[in-house]
Chain length 239, copies 2
DNA sequence: CGAAACCTTGATGTAAATCAAGCTGAGTGG
DNA sequence: CCACTCAGCTTGATTTACATCAAGGTTTCG
């Protein structure tokens, strides 16, 4: 269960055995969610933070008009609400996009961690910073890229993030999002989302069948997306 | 100079005199930038982090097509590149939108701070989390709001953020952005940006003359923006 | 078999980009 | 003082991108 977190952190810095033990102890409570369940509701004041160990989840916000914007996608190894440890109140909801298994950390234990393990604290902080960088890459894609480029960027990003925890098979990976959910990621109507996907298929860039995405031409996909993985901080360095 | 930071932090939690002293010591080096100067360049590996004390700055990314997307606006009291302390490499640039005065913190000193002052560490972490929350509010605005609503949301946000450090005068505040720069914030063409602004003027929601914005009807502006300040975490609470 | 979820397609209207031109005020040099 | 430039703002015309409306298709599943 917790190995996905270790893989995530160990792509950025070295973890000692003692640190791994602390994380294991902090994240000992287990839970499961079904597809469509709210893992955390908007407005909640959670007393635990949630590590996603298996499955896909999304942060989202519903506007008064009833439309939904997904602001982040989460994969195994991600904390979905670590920010709530310090922000206290959820300004958005988090939904399971597939069956999810999670581990929970009491905020009290996280506070102790910040008192006793500065290095782990920095790595947890880094985790939230990387998600901030992902937010920025989404803003650039939404504001200044074509919709095809935006979709290509999302696919490149997900591929690389899933690769960290070994959840890709060659150039294929499982993505349990409907086109309607992807439209909520990109801020598009369902109809237009479908047309963007079909254009990418026509270009022989990817196939997307039965929740399985296969990248047919990684170089052309990256070039369409202007994808540069620097923002994901995938190198080991003392932090 | 550093008072803006204190005001920022003290809107979220209590600071002790000792903590204020540590911050004063950590942030002792001073610098200035002229309008248009890069405060930090994309690709740089800074060894200091920058606290903005006076002026406006923006994070931005240039696409291959040459267009620019601004991913964040910074005001007095904000760290513009605190994330670089742990992310190490800048995946975007930071530009001064007006003359700026800043204070610098060595990353070595920030590391000591994480070793010796867990509470201050949490508050600095919180600062980056709040900017993450702002990123998410921008994503929602870009994806699912009308352009008028998006602009209204930016104005509400800036007003509230500037109010924290006393940089508003009634319902007016100074905003040294050209319409072209605001277009780079919202991901619009200059021509369309201009038309959105004029529509808001026609509705008697705001005036915007000589870099001075005056909100004429706060309630209607908030309602157009669906503005809810929760995400800015403006309440005092032990963190 | 019928229902439900998801995907696809076509037609039409609206939002926004792009192209092109002109305006205004501040600063600059002759 | 006037001619000139330049940055920033404004307006109109045209094209393109996208939303919306409407309908039908496919697959899965009880």
């Amino acid at each position: 269960m917790i190995e996905a977190l270790f893989q995530n952190l160990e792509h950025r810095d070295v973890l000692s055995g003692a640190e791994r033990a602390i994380l294991r102890e902090t994240l000992s409570k287990e839970r499961s969610f079904g597809k469509g369940d709210d893992i955390v509701a908007e407005g909640a004041r959670p007393t635990v933070s949630t590590l996603l160990c298996e499955g896909f989840a999304a942060r989202y916000k519903i506007t008064e008009g009833g439309s939904r914007q997904i602001t982040a996608l989460h994969v195994a190894g991600d904390f979905v609400d670590l920010h709530a440890f310090l922000m206290k109140t959820m300004d958005h909801g988090i939904v399971a996009l597939s069956p999810c298994r999670v581990l929970l950390a009491e905020h009290g234990d996280l506070k102790s961690l910040t008192e006793n393990s500065p290095h782990l604290t920095r790595l947890m902080w880094l985790d939230t910073l990387i998600h901030g960088a992902i937010h920025r890459s989404w803003i650039v894609a939404m504001g200044r890229r074509s919709k095809a480029s935006h979709l290509a960027h999302i696919m490149c990003e997900l591929y690389v993030r899933l690769q960290i925890t070994g959840r890709v098979d060659g150039l294929s990976f499982h993505l349990p999002l409907s086109q309607a959910e992807m439209a909520d990621v990109m801020g598009l109507s369902l109809v237009h989302m479908n047309r963007v996907i079909q254009a990418m298929r026509r270009e022989n860039l990817v196939t997307w069948i039965n929740q399985m995405i296969t990248i047919l031409d990684w170089d052309r996909l990256c070039s369409l997306a202007e994808f540069d993985r620097t923002y994901l901080n995938l190198w080991i360095e003392p932090r």
